[in-house]
């Protein structure tokens, strides 16, 4: 208790990085750079201390990769033009190696080399995905041993503000992630909890529970990411996922939470792979779900529509409260989404088709969630 605080501060910091300091180049103990930094005029500056790198680029949502330039201290920097307010995913590519920003604590973990850093360019007034004055809901993390899939897995549950203090029951949205996400994706990158907080506080959505399961129907998704598309594995993926959601996650949720359990109080939606799964789970189980949302969906993972939805017909229109299909004009899946919508028309199945701006990325999905959630359970 008799050292100087300053010396001990240095000692503690050293200890925190002790194992790595020995391996770092000279200068490696310099304080970390600030990255990213967002200016008042909405420019983002990316920085990386990497004195020995030959090339560093930053790859982000909606932009071509941009080269950073190195200063005499070995810090690489790139500043964007003013950006549209949004949350942007980005990675650095350092001499060909893809990494997340080492000093940015906001990361969306990926299952297979997909860690992405996130930066928010704020809007005035705050956008629906930004934390503002709304009362806060809670995000609950559950783990369980899945018999349907044969592995350890997890899911997240959002409950709206006030849930803990009341006795109300709530409708439930099952919200499914995409390939390379893990179960946290709709929270970390999708900001589903913040979006719902804001919508509910503004009276723009009904208070609801949101369940975000692990979307892989095969164990070891990192090892099986490619396999998910092989014909046999893709079928097994969606069938086992559906079984796990309906027979494991849903009963657990309805036991642990004050969840309404009639079909009119259950929705299922998802993005990309999860959009295909939402269609598969929802349209084949209209006894359980009345509201379905398909965001930039990989309908292509479902084989042919006639085989994927063998029993679907115009007779189901009375049970479908909402079938919402959206895709960005610049999405690489736009053609198959248009084809699927044509197929729905040919079957006389009522639906809402939104062809929006945007590509296959989170800025689109956050907006879709806000739009879709606003329509539910009314």
């Amino acid at each position: 208790m008799n050292y100087s605080l300053a010396l001990l501060g240095a000692t503690l910091l050293l200890a925190a990085t002790a194992q790595v300091s020995q391996a770092q180049a000279p200068g490696g103990m310099e304080p970390p750079v600030k990255s990213p930094e967002v200016s008042k005029d909405r420019k983002v500056t990316f920085r990386l201390r990497a004195p020995n790198a030959k090339t560093v680029t930053v790859a982000r949502d909606g932009a071509q990769p941009a080269p950073l330039t190195k200063d005499s201290a070995g810090v690489w920097t790139f500043t964007t033009e003013p950006l549209t307010p949004d949350i942007y995913s980005y990675n650095y590519v350092v001499d060909g190696l893809l990494i997340a920003d080492p000093v940015n604590p906001v990361v969306r973990p990926g299952v297979s080399g997909g860690h992405q850093s996130l930066v928010t360019v704020p809007a005035v007034p705050p956008a629906v995905w930004e934390t503002a004055d709304a009362p806060r809901g809670t995000v609950h993390h559950h783990t369980f041993r899945s018999k349907a899939i044969g592995d350890e897995r997890d899911y997240y549950v959002y409950t709206p503000a006030g849930y803990e203090y009341g006795q109300d029951t709530y409708p439930v949205l099952y919200l499914l992630h995409g390939l390379t996400d893990d179960a946290s994706g709709w929270v970390t990158a999708g900001r589903a909890n913040v979006i719902l907080d804001n919508l509910i506080a503004g009276g723009r959505a009904k208070p609801m529970i949101v369940v975000m399961p692990n979307g892989y129907g095969l164990p070891d998704p990192a090892g099986n990411l490619g396999a998910m598309f092989q014909p046999g594995a893709a079928k097994k993926n969606r069938e086992q996922f559906t079984k796990s959601v309906l027979e494991e996650v849903l009963p657990q949720v309805e036991k642990a939470y004050r969840a309404k359990s009639d079909r009119e109080s259950r929705a299922v939606a998802g993005l990309s792979m999860g959009g295909g799964q939402a269609a598969h789970v929802g349209l084949n189980n209209l006894d359980k779900f009345a509201w379905i949302g398909c965001f930039s969906s990989a309908f292509v993972m479902l084989d042919q529509a006639d085989q994927a939805f063998p029993n679907l017909s115009a007779k189901d229109n009375e049970r479908i409260r909402l079938l919402w299909v959206g895709c960005g004009k610049d999405d690489f899946l736009i053609q198959s989404n248009r084809s699927t919508v044509e197929w729905l028309k040919s079957k006389g199945v009522k639906h809402t088709w939104v062809e929006s701006e945007g590509a296959h990325s989170w800025p689109v999905w956050r907006r879709y969630l806000a739009d879709f959630a606003s329509l539910l359970f009314r």
Copy 2:
């Protein structure tokens, strides 16, 4: 809906990495390597695809940094000797740049360049920190606007298995993290939820709620990490932290959860910075806490003991149910821990002193938590 699935698999994977593929070196679209891989004889193989790197080392808990070697495909590899079963934190250092393992989804996020990858070397039978057959508790994530500190912050709450279905009330352990951790540290690296699940299932700990707050008493911890040790800032850090925990987090928890609120049903413990805070919060608020745990504590952040605990004396022994102080023999803080224990003796304050094997690292803290939690609320 009429492409071949194989082609579409490739297309989807491409899209998932579209922004970065253009920036990557040739070969960048090759499937990610498997890393880390744990063999049956408890050797860990670390791999990194980085064809253009000059040197790659791996730095992990309890070992000197080890060099990886590159094969003709540009994949760097290092295999350890058989390791003692444990969970090991590690980072790569690529040409002087410290990074987490890009393909390992298990990451402990850090506030300032501290993302660390984690690998579990399993024990037979499973260690207390490994997921096994125990019924699972739930981890809840809360956010709020702190008036005490003036920022947005968060905390995690563990509830034991069955909490959702019952009416029991539970004692509460406040569990504080260390410098460079964020509020999730005790879950991601500390496995507090898994440890409690296993202890409770085995009858080795009383069912309890565990609250894991953000431990920084200053806003923008990444920007203020060094400042936390400057005399004025260190004081402000602990005083604002204490105020936020006692006046914001504790009342929120006791409103939202079925938490017992008598002093005999409240414990506070922490590691490193959090160990110092646990002493500060607990010993100065014995009207609120009866059980205190200090793991590898940065008592050095508290100024002199006489000033940090001005009212502490042997008269408090009747209120202290447990004051547990532990530190590893190889910890850089061992001397100040021994000094603090001597000071406690000189004051006649009863305590339990554990001088264990180990350094300033998570393998020590997971064991301390298991030992400490087993003693609580009995």
